[in-house]
């Protein structure tokens, strides 16, 4: 069930002196089982775009088809959208509020009108999927957990809704290097197990290079480029013009004068070997 975003336009304060075009004719498609990375400088329209995908904002024009349902249409209820799209905000651990991990993760599915057994099963599944041991953490207060575990619990709360599309906004921001890798691996695991589509917004070009199948580049409300990580990160100049960087390892290999676009340290080792003619 692909997502098809067509000519999405959003204008804040239309007709007022403060009018601002936040999205302009944004179109892209995410195919089944793909991970899409969205990159863009602060203020490029990424957050506005996410809020449309989650039904929090309605566009001035354009459509978002998830399968055969256009979620921008007036008749579509938020509950219907929530069943399809799960959005994990930045610093989602700030949204934890329940007494126990189990209750916190159960809050979302509890609002879908499911049976108690169904909710329990989903909660167990979601907590396991984010890499935590259900029986160890279920009765603990989410506030006693480490930063990375808190974030994992918050993500489990969204996964328990079983969305077809999982959107993560800066999921690794503010984490130490190990926890950062844990969360990235967790996203890969969720993707492999559930086969859902994942949309990942990140300032971390290394993460995008490593995990995304396709990359969408946003600038001043427009989608200015779309392609595979190799295609996108071979356009260093264009990215720099819109205030973005290459992944550090890609940048380094460019500085050395290696002609190919390198995305991982392993590839870099191989290319450097060829480069020095060893």
């Amino acid at each position: 069930m692909p997502i098809k975003v067509s000519k999405l336009t959003h204008i804040y304060d239309e007709g007022m002196p403060t009018e601002q075009v936040a999205l302009e004719d944004v179109s892209f498609t995410v195919e089944d089982g793909e991970i899409l990375g969205i990159i863009g400088h602060t203020g490029s329209g990424k957050s506005t775009l996410l809020q449309h995908l989650d039904g929090l904002l309605k566009p001035n024009s354009g459509s978002i088809l998830i399968g055969d349902v256009d979620i921008t249409k007036p008749g579509v209820s938020l509950v219907d959208i929530r069943k399809r799209v799960g959005l994990v905000f930045q610093y989602p651990e700030y949204q934890l509020f329940e007494e126990t991990v189990e209750k916190d993760v159960a809050y979302g599915p509890g609002n879908l009108g499911l049976s108690q057994e169904e909710i329990s099963e989903r909660v167990r599944e979601a907590i396991t999927l984010v890499g935590l041991d259900f029986d160890t953490v279920k009765d603990r207060s989410p506030f006693e957990l480490s930063g990375g575990q808190k974030r994992a619990v918050a993500i489990a709360g969204v996964i328990a809704m079983r969305p077809q599309v999982l959107i993560l906004d800066e999921p690794t921001a503010g984490l130490d290097p190990k926890t950062h890798d844990d969360i990235l691996n967790m996203i890969r695991t969720i993707h492999q197990r559930t086969g859902n589509m994942i949309i990942l917004v990140s300032h971390n070009m290394g993460d995008i290079a490593e995990i995304a199948d396709k990359v969408l580049v946003m600038d001043t409300g427009k989608a200015i480029a779309y392609g595979t990580p190799i295609e996108i990160f071979s356009k260093g100049e264009k990215l720099r013009e819109v205030g973005l960087d290459l992944p550090p390892v890609t940048e380094f290999c460019r500085k050395l004068g290696i002609p190919e676009t390198v995305l991982t340290v392993d590839q870099a080792v191989q290319k450097i070997k060829e480069f020095i003619g060893a």
Binding site: P177, V265, I276
Partner: protein, 282 residues
């Protein structure tokens, strides 16, 4: 070399109410900071690094042990203004640090509270805003600025108080890559002008800019030394959930693949040079 901060056997515990055991965030930490030095403090989430930062200017007071800032004991209530004038602090979230609706008023807030003469405040505010390249924004509203710009205003507010020491507690964690670069450039500049800088960070690429790196783990100092020395100890660093700088990692893998670059390179330009030298030999 003059010592501007002396930390002696510092232990800090957070109380968790009557029925719970206190949590020991720092456990017998001792070190000294040289005047004009640039020290990076790194450690995983929960290692005690932010608690340490807050102990360095008297925002937190040691449970046991002592912290002296230019000779003033942070436990001495009378000395707290002396300490805050000497050791300024920049926090992670710029939104939590701005108090006024106009940029220049915000920067003036600190020196005003120190009772500085108005004409002198004017000079300090203008200079501080220039130092962070925000002079042209002085009449703007802070909430309309980007995260990086807001953080620069927060730094200007500290600079205007003319502290000897500036402590940065993960100042770039919430910023985008452009904002992060802006802030690192300013930190290096302030150090270049002679300020003593202490930078708490998760980013190894920032830590290698310092002339000394302290790694904290579970409330204790694990390693302390020059970045070139510290990052050679890859296994110990990975053991405590930290990464080494990308160049160190690349260097190790190149050596493992039979490419003879020197061990322990941490900076990009050094690695480029080493690789080009090998290429010219072949």
């Amino acid at each position: 070399m003059d010592k501007v901060i002396t930390v002696e056997d510092l232990t800090f515990e957070y109380n968790r109410g009557e029925n719970a055991e206190p949590v020991k965030a720092l456990d017998g930490v001792s070190f000294e900071i040289d005047k004009g030095s640039f020290t990076a403090i790194i450690g995983k989430n929960g290692s005690g690094k932010s608690t340490l930062a807050k102990n360095l200017n008297g925002l937190l007071i040691p449970t046991s042990g002592s912290v002296f800032v230019e000779g003033y004991d942070t436990k001495d209530d009378e000395a707290i203004w002396e300490i805050r004038q000497r050791a300024g602090m920049v926090f992670q979230n710029p939104d939590n640090q701005l108090v006024s609706s106009i940029v220049e008023d915000d920067v003036a807030f600190g020196p005003e509270n120190l009772g500085v003469d108005p004409a002198e405040i004017r000079r300090r505010v203008d200079k501080a805003l220039e130092d962070v390249n925000m002079g042209e924004y002085k009449m703007k509203a802070p909430h309309l600025l980007s995260g990086g710009q807001k953080q620069r205003i927060a730094i200007a507010g500290v600079v205007a108080m003319r502290p000897e020491i500036i402590i940065f507690d993960e100042p770039t964690a919430m910023l985008d890559p452009k904002g992060r670069k802006e802030i690192m450039a300013i930190i290096k500049e302030l150090h270049g002008e002679g300020k003593t800088v202490i930078l708490i960070t998760h980013f190894m690429e920032e830590a290698i800019e310092a002339d000394r790196v302290i790694i904290l783990n579970a409330g204790k100092i694990l390693l302390d030394g020059a970045p070139e020395e510290i990052f050679k100890r890859v296994d110990e660093i990975r053991e405590v959930n930290l990464e080494v700088p990308m160049m160190t990692d690349l260097g190790d893998r190149l050596i493992a693949a039979g490419i003879d670059v020197p061990k322990g390179i941490i900076r990009e330009e050094d690695m480029v040079e080493a690789i080009c030298r090998l290429k010219s030999q072949n």
